[in-house]
């Protein structure tokens, strides 16, 4: 009966929107997460503290030092005279990198000997260490090339011509913020759907619902559709924030994005309904949502690439709807991908959605009858 389902949907939406606490859950944490992730979650390096020990007081070495000091990536915190403080600076994390220019620097340059430059990096955070090395190497090779050109040296046989597709400045934010669309849509949908039946069980209204002439499928639809609606709305707000506030380019069309979104929200709704069917109290539902959410976010490629995980875990991620939707959002935003290119992402989500909804229906029937 469509009228009954409609009445239930209206009731669910009213229940969520009239309760200030539920309203908060929809607005507060997502907003905070958007800001925290948008601003704080970045792999880009800025103002990395470095120390420089220049043992070769020459024009060439001063030029090299100037290139490091002038880079926005680095911030000079100490200029060293002799080697003894290097260890303590790195140990105490005062400097993340120490550049040591050998006394023979200029001499070797002029003699066409490779002029030694030591780059000592704190490896405690290996990712940062790799990035620092990369930045330092870029400055060093730029210096090499321009020095060679100025001094009439023969140019190197080949030079690199590096271009980054889709994200020319390699800004982490372009990677993270579209990911937040997937992350928050999942969190909100799962909480709205996962807790709704448990809340009614706790207050006793669920029994009241079951004794009305509504069929189980009506109840299931009435519980699932509001989650779908709220999840889609939440996603739209974050997409708008990504474009208007964080200036992330939206290169693709809205159709491929919303097609993916719909499939993703359907899959998450199915999982939410499964949790809802199993949980007796809101606390159990929250625990269930948490136990699903943490692995699904970690194993989705949101923060770190799936390709880096052990093979067994990579196979496991195939069950995770967020994995597919992340690719859809990032591709549509940054690559401008269309429906055709995203088909390999759409159908697994559709399949997971169909299976989770069927399982939810089965569990629901089993719990109620």
């Amino acid at each position: 009966m469509l009228r009954q389902v409609f009445a239930l949907i209206v009731k669910e939406l009213l229940a969520v929107l009239r309760d200030p606490k539920s309203r908060m859950v929809l607005v507060g944490p997502p907003l905070i997460q958007l800001m925290v992730f948008g601003y704080a979650a970045t792999y880009d390096l800025n103002h990395v503290p470095i120390a420089i020990e220049n043992r070769d007081a020459s024009e060439a070495s001063r030029d090299l030092v100037a290139r490091f000091v002038g880079s926005p990536t680095f911030r000079l915190v100490a200029t060293l005279k002799s080697g003894e403080r290097i260890n303590s600076l790195i140990d105490s994390r005062t400097a993340a990198m120490v550049l040591v220019i050998d006394p023979r620097f200029t001499r070797d340059l002029l003699l066409h000997e490779p002029a030694p430059v030591q780059v000592i990096v704190d490896g405690r955070n290996s990712n940062t260490a790799l990035l620092i090395e990369g930045y330092a190497n870029t400055i060093l090779s730029d210096f090499s090339l321009s020095w060679a050109a100025e001094h009439g040296e023969p140019p190197p046989a080949a030079v690199l011509d590096i271009r980054a597709r889709y994200n020319p400045t390699l800004s982490s934010r372009w990677f993270i913020v579209p990911g937040i669309v997937a992350l928050l849509t999942q969190v909100v949908t799962l909480l709205v759907v996962g807790l709704s039946v448990a809340r009614e069980r706790e207050t006793g209204t669920f029994d009241q619902l079951l004794v009305t002439p509504m069929r189980q499928i009506d109840i299931l639809l009435g519980k699932g559709l509001p989650g779908l609606l709220i999840g889609t709305l939440e996603a739209s707000v974050i997409v708008a924030a990504a474009v208007l506030w964080f200036d992330i380019p939206l290169r693709g069309g809205l159709f491929p994005l919303y097609l993916g979104l719909l499939l993703f929200v359907t899959a998450v709704t199915g999982i939410g309904l499964m949790i809802s069917s199993l949980a007796v109290t809101q606390q159990q539902a929250l625990l269930g949502a948490f136990l699903f959410m943490v692995p699904s976010i970690i194993l989705s490629g949101f923060a770190t690439p799936i390709a880096n995980m052990p093979p067994l875990i990579q196979d496991f991620t195939l069950l995770n709807p967020m994995r597919y939707f992340l690719i859809v959002v990032r591709s549509v935003f940054l690559e401008g991908a269309g429906v055709g290119a995203l088909l390999p992402q759409y159908w697994p989500m559709a399949l997971i959605g169909a299976m989770s909804l069927a399982a939810a229906g089965w569990l629901f029937r089993k719990r109620v009858t």
């Binding site: 992730f37 704080a40 030694p116 490896g123 190197p156 030079v159 271009r163 990677f175 690439p305 880096n308």
Partner: protein
């Protein structure tokens, strides 16, 4: 008077221990939750790119191009695939089959052997900016090595005038797991510590037992102390289990001393438990207490502790906020104690900060706790 006080404390402590023993939920939070999270995160979070699929487009293969491209074939970092045309490679990149393209055009060898400056086209997929940067860094090294080798061995062409000698301290293998796992312990124990105290006190509110306790001669300090001591021990147990997992399951080296580790953990645990006590002051049921604990501890500890995202690269306003995240100090200590050893210039200031935070949280918990329901 003193005997009565000790007896009250003893009675409460015995009750708490019996409850921990009989109700598995506290043990689950202390041991199962950290182990589960550590395993999921430990395996799931890795920044070490290996076997990155890379397209090689060599339009006119010969000995010179082979000397360059063979460097990619022999690196564990890349998994090269050959494409005949740049269009084919671009299509593969759009389909996420390859992450980057190395493109040597047909006149590469001719230009390299005449005027030099032959372009090596490098196209990376910038969507995952971190991966893209790391690929860039590797390609740069490959290129510099190739130039040097060509100059030194074959005596042809010029090497780069500079010879960079990179040295990575403390984590020579540059394995991300070695620094992520210690950081994870801090993130997870923040959640665990806060959950332990917040949930058990909320449970007493829910069941109405706290109301009955309050109308006895017991004092607020006694109630708080009786919660703090058992869950401190339980939390330290969970911490020890996490450290053992880190060392034996994930093979993270422990260079520092167990003593420093224990001391810092104790301070941190006091801060985390104190935070749980503060939460329990206003959250009167387990549902709300659990939600607040997850939102206020897990997310900030994950993002703002510097465990994976570099704090000095964050906007200034965000950097200020990181100072109130206890996990930040503990992450710094753990990463040093595991990978570098007992580095006092890192340990001492961060331990002091933890002590201050523990004192603040416990002080606030004591000041706001009342033997009253309102």
């Amino acid at each position: 008077m003193k005997a009565a006080r000790l007896r009250r404390l003893g009675g409460l402590l015995r009750k708490e221990l019996l409850q921990i023993w009989r109700d598995p939920s506290a043990l689950a939070i202390a041991f199962a939750l950290p182990a589960l999270l550590l395993i999921i995160f430990g395996y799931g979070v890795s920044l070490d790119a290996t076997n990155v699929p890379l397209a090689l487009v060599v339009q006119h293969p010969d000995g010179l191009t082979a000397s360059f491209t063979s460097q990619f074939s022999h690196s564990p970092f890349f998994r090269p695939r050959r494409f005949l045309t740049i269009q084919g490679a671009e299509t593969a990149m759009a389909a996420r089959k390859v992450e980057g393209i190395i493109w040597l055009q047909s006149d590469f060898t001719r230009r390299a052997e005449s005027d030099g400056n032959a372009p090596i086209g490098v196209i990376v997929n910038g969507v995952d900016a971190n991966d893209a940067r790391i690929i860039e860094g590797y390609v740069q090294q490959v290129w510099a090595n190739w130039l040097t080798a060509r100059a030194a061995v074959d005596g042809k062409g010029a090497a780069l005038p500079l010879a960079a000698q990179p040295q990575v301290r403390f984590n020579a293998s540059v394995s991300s797991r070695d620094y992520l796992v210690p950081g994870l312990i801090a993130v997870i124990m923040t959640l665990t510590g806060a959950l332990l105290t917040a949930l058990v006190i909320a449970r007493e509110w829910e069941r109405g037992t706290l109301e009955a306790l309050m109308v006895t001669r017991v004092t607020v300090s006694e109630i708080l102390l009786a919660k703090l001591v058992p869950y401190f021990l339980l939390g330290m147990g969970g911490m020890a289990a996490s450290v053992l997992l880190a060392v034996f399951l994930f093979g993270v080296p422990l260079h520092g001393s167990v003593l420093v580790l224990t001391g810092a953990s104790a301070l941190f645990m006091l801060a985390a438990l104190g935070m749980g006590l503060v939460i329990s002051g206003f959250a009167r049921n387990q549902f709300v207490a659990g939600q607040i604990a997850i939102i206020t501890t897990f997310l900030p500890a994950f993002i703002l502790s510097g465990f994976v995202f570099d704090i000095s690269s964050m906007p200034a306003a965000v950097q200020i906020i990181t100072h109130i995240v206890a996990a930040r100090y503990f992450v710094a200590i753990l990463q040093s104690v595991f990978l570098a050893g007992d580095v006092w210039p890192v340990v001492v200031p961060n331990a002091l900060a933890l002590a201050v935070m523990a004192a603040i949280f416990l002080g606030v918990a004591r000041a706001t706790a009342r033997k009253r329901l309102d």
